[in-house]
């Protein structure tokens, strides 16, 4: 299973765009990249998933370069409620979702 590296923490202000980059140099051909969000006292929640190029949903965008060795989660115009821990994971369904979580990035959004 590919190991991921993310910044430990980030600060932002309300209304700004936040970009969190994750490194996964050993990503395998069959691996997808998935991001989760976790608020205190709650379980992680799926945000977005992609394989290559760009994926966008109502919450975020995910940018994946051609070599797939990194990915960037983009949160447009963050609010105080986006303060959470964000986890980047790589894996494939063949692994039976044996998902290993890295340290994650603690995002603090200030007023």
């Amino acid at each position: 299973l590919a190991k991921t590296t993310q910044p430990i923490s980030m600060d932002s202000y309300e209304g700004q765009e936040v970009n969190i980059t994750c490194s996964h140099n050993n990503i395998a051909t069959n691996d997808y990249i998935t991001w989760y969000q976790q608020f205190p006292s709650q379980g992680p929640r799926f945000i977005i998933q992609g394989y290559k190029t760009k994926v966008t949903n109502e919450v975020a965008s995910l940018f994946i370069p051609a070599d797939r060795k990194s990915s960037t989660l983009s949160l447009p115009r963050v609010s105080l409620s986006d303060t959470a821990v964000y986890y980047c994971l790589v894996g494939d369904s063949g692994g039976g979702f044996k998902t290993i979580f890295g340290a994650g990035t603690r995002l603090f959004v200030k007023a």
Binding site: G43, G96, F101
Partner: protein, 119 residues
């Protein structure tokens, strides 16, 4: 999506006792996962529980300490045995599900967690 209910949501336990955490899913799922999250830390996978077979434990976790049951496709239990203060953590139940979109491999759904404090 899947809705997961865990019981208890929190408990305070005495050293040396055991506690069983229940996980109920609103749909039938093949694989269920148990994670531990110690204060301020990331999630650590304890074991994978498939219905009809023995749970598969990750390195550092053993069946005697964390026995798991999986009697059917919607339910599982995790027991934390002979507890010590080091077992104080949040224990999370998770299942794998499909996002429903093409070109995806699905996602994990988590319960709210069971916060255990061992005195």
């Amino acid at each position: 999506s899947a809705v997961i209910s865990q019981k208890p949501s929190r408990d305070i336990c005495q050293r040396g006792t055991s506690l069983t955490i229940q996980c109920q899913v609103d749909s039938q799922v093949t694989m269920m996962f148990w994670y531990r999250q110690q204060p301020g830390q990331s999630l650590t996978l304890i074991a994978t529980a498939n219905q009809g077979s023995e749970a598969t434990y990750e390195s550092g976790f053993v069946i005697d300490k964390f026995p798991i049951s999986r009697p059917n496709l919607t339910f599982s239990t995790l027991t934390v045995s002979n507890m010590s203060p080091e077992d104080s953590s949040i224990y999370l139940c998770s299942v794998a599900g499909g996002t429903g979109g093409l070109g995806t491999v699905g996602e994990l759904f988590f319960g709210e967690g069971s916060r255990l404090t061992v005195l």
